[in-house]
Amino acid sequence: MTDRLDGPAAPREESDSRGDSPAPADAPHTTRRFGPSPVIAIAFLLPAALLLGVWVVYPIVYSVFRSLFDASGTGFTGLGNYATIFTDGAMLTTIRNNLIWVVVAPIVITTLGLIFAVLTERIRWATAFKLIVFMPMAVSLMAAGVIFRLVYEEDPDKGLANAVLTTVHDTFSSSQGYPEARPREGDQSPVAAQGGAVVTKQAAQTGRPVLIPIVGIKPAVMPGNAQAAKTPQGGNELSGTVWFDFTPGGGGKNGAVDGTEKGLPGMTVEAVSDGRVAATATTAEDGSFRFEGLPAGSYVVRLPQSNFEPAYRGLTWLGRTLITPAIIGAFVWVWAGFAMVLIAAGLAAIPRDALEAARIDGATEWQVFRRITVPLLSPVLLVVFVTMIINTLKVFDLVFIIAPSSVQPDANVIALEMWRVSFGGGNNQGLGSALAIFLLVLVLPFMIMNIRRFRRENA
């Protein structure tokens, strides 16, 4: 690519330096030839051409050639490898992911960069702020990946993202229930799970204690004040016990309140009659409950779902659905600073008088931004945007590191897939080369766009 830039530039320089004396004397009658003799030109171009040939042209040509062969490198497959790219389900996922990346990441980065650049122009500690936003650029993508792998860890005790989410969530509502507790399975159990709640299988009668055995209580959620479970005696009211029906060490009788088993305090219990809640009670420290002043009759006793709601644990960042947005977040973190610095430089070059004139004419700040700043900045914005598209297309390291291997197929991008098929597992360098060429074809239009723009600006 760069040779197209260098090509016209080199002779021009030459003509500048020796333009005055030999050139007019050399060519008096034929058409005026600019620059040196072809031999010297070739000698000057040779080192660059050689390096480009070895490092750029040869690999590209060889990749094109290699992409027409199978894994072993001996069987000619024609365009078979390219057909695989567009038929294999996993490959289509990678293409889809790349599309999401290309659409989302450059827009977000350019927008954020613009916002940061415009805002930092006004604040006092602009340099310090810019430095901080630019800092991630100093970190390698590899390290950034490791950092974000930890940030997105699901356990709120380890992952920053979920720690923030759970903290925010818990300040508004906190759950003090028995998450994941459930009735024992099987027909013997007198209670059954029903849509998240636990209900008695048979209608309860007043005067006979209701037994509600619950199992699967994690040691961490067992309240410290829980006492050994007791069945309430006597009285004509509807009463009963909710308790953890598991004797530590085993040996207890299922469905019976054994000596050492503990009650579950703080459970909300509802007496339901004809589908309506007739009364509500809360269990005591020994797990017993009593509905005061409830008319005699038969009721279904229910422990509503609110008792069993699990504590909020944040989002599964590294799961299948959120993985690509999560990685794009890390990518934005790295590149937003770069965009900001470029755009800020462009901003500094905008003629102040245009802005001043607009302000004097009574334009609001938003109008100034919208009608003056952005249009004047548009060349810089476009450069940033296109550069980001190219960067996004070749994203590799962040996906490789952040996505756990179990979700990597869902987060996969072309560059990573290329490396995987070429060197991991199958060692299929034919297919890998085809992917590389595919990626090159995707990047080319943007490269050409950038080069055109550079040229126009230089002209």
Binding site: R184, G249, T316, G319, P409, G424, N427
Partner: protein, 439 residues
Amino acid sequence: MRTARAAAVLAGLAVAVAACGNAPTTTQPTASSSASAGGAKTLEGVKLEVAAKWTGDEQKYFQQVLKAFTEKTGAKVTYASTGEDTGAYLGPRIQGGSPPDVAILPQPGLVQQYAKQNALKPVTDAVSKQLDTNYTPYWKELGSADGKVYGVLVKAAHKSLVWYRTQAFEDAGVQPPTNWDELVKASQTIADSGTPPFSLCGASAWTLTDLFENVYLSTAGPEKYDQLSKHEIPWTDPSVATALEKIQQIAGKKEFVLDGSSGALQTDFPTCVTKVFGQKKAAMIIEADFVATPVVQSKAKVGEDAKVFPFPKAGDTTPVILGGDVAVAMKDSPGAMALLEFLASKEGGEIWAKLPGYLSPNKNVSPDNYPDPLTKQLGQTIVSAGDAVRYDMSDLAPSAFGGTDGKGEWKVLQDFLRNPSDVKGAQEALEAEAKKAWK
């Protein structure tokens, strides 16, 4: 934690020194008489590079073995870690013409693959002799391709084990189960007691293939196991369905799996062990002997806090599945062959055996060398089982199927863990991936 580990290592070294007596002074005459490469430091000045996937403690212990080799021969050995994906590390180096002198391959499948690419050097007679005296033919065959011997199985792993936290079993009042139904029943009781019975390492998919292989060997028997290993029967075979249904019984219940299937799929191998024995969040972990290393790091005592029971019989066969690492020479250098010979020898094996987390397939390495009674017992089962054992199936498969992150069997089993109700879909996906890999 660090001091405890250091103490353990020191203790191991002390045993090693004690066992050898005054080895440093007397080693030269005995060595020269037993091994051809021994005697004076014949390889003084030779430099070797060894690549293996081990990191952390496993790497540290292996480097102690390498140090013993350096002391014996004078050759300088540098260690390069390949990371989890050995194929991805070695592939470009072979392609680029600068492979390491010796590579330790985690899968015999790679021996076949590299032998086909002419990237391996057949072993010399001296190495072959060590193999004949120290190994049963089954192991020699594992390191061979097309009738030529290329590799030495240097490290074996016993993969038919279930580790459990004794406290969790005591709290729930259950005993180690001996068959699958008992396992499911015990799991239910443990779940009722408030502890999720299993910690699965879903992010490290090889742990899932190990689980499948144990169940499959047990339910379908060794013959079918061999056929499926070679893809002579399709993965849509009913025997595969039976095995997957058994796995469904434990993976399909959300109270059985710590953090649910989505949490398990983000948990990689040593972390899932820490969750059982360090954070005490679950009761069991289905994995190999080398779980001992992270167990010790979690400050749990092997044999007291952490115990093992053999993988319960899910069918007619008691499964014994082994994994293992095969050392191969990738360069034709005397140093490389001398190292292979050393690793295959009784001497090299016994040095390694005294370090934690190691099992030798070498039948002449006495089980007495192992630092704890558990390893001793495992070592005996491997040596005595002989030809009756089966090698890890996924490691025998082409690595695109059985050894690559996000591909083949690894991916499908992770998807199955995510959605354990779809046995048929998993089988079809497995067969589709197998067809691609075996074509």
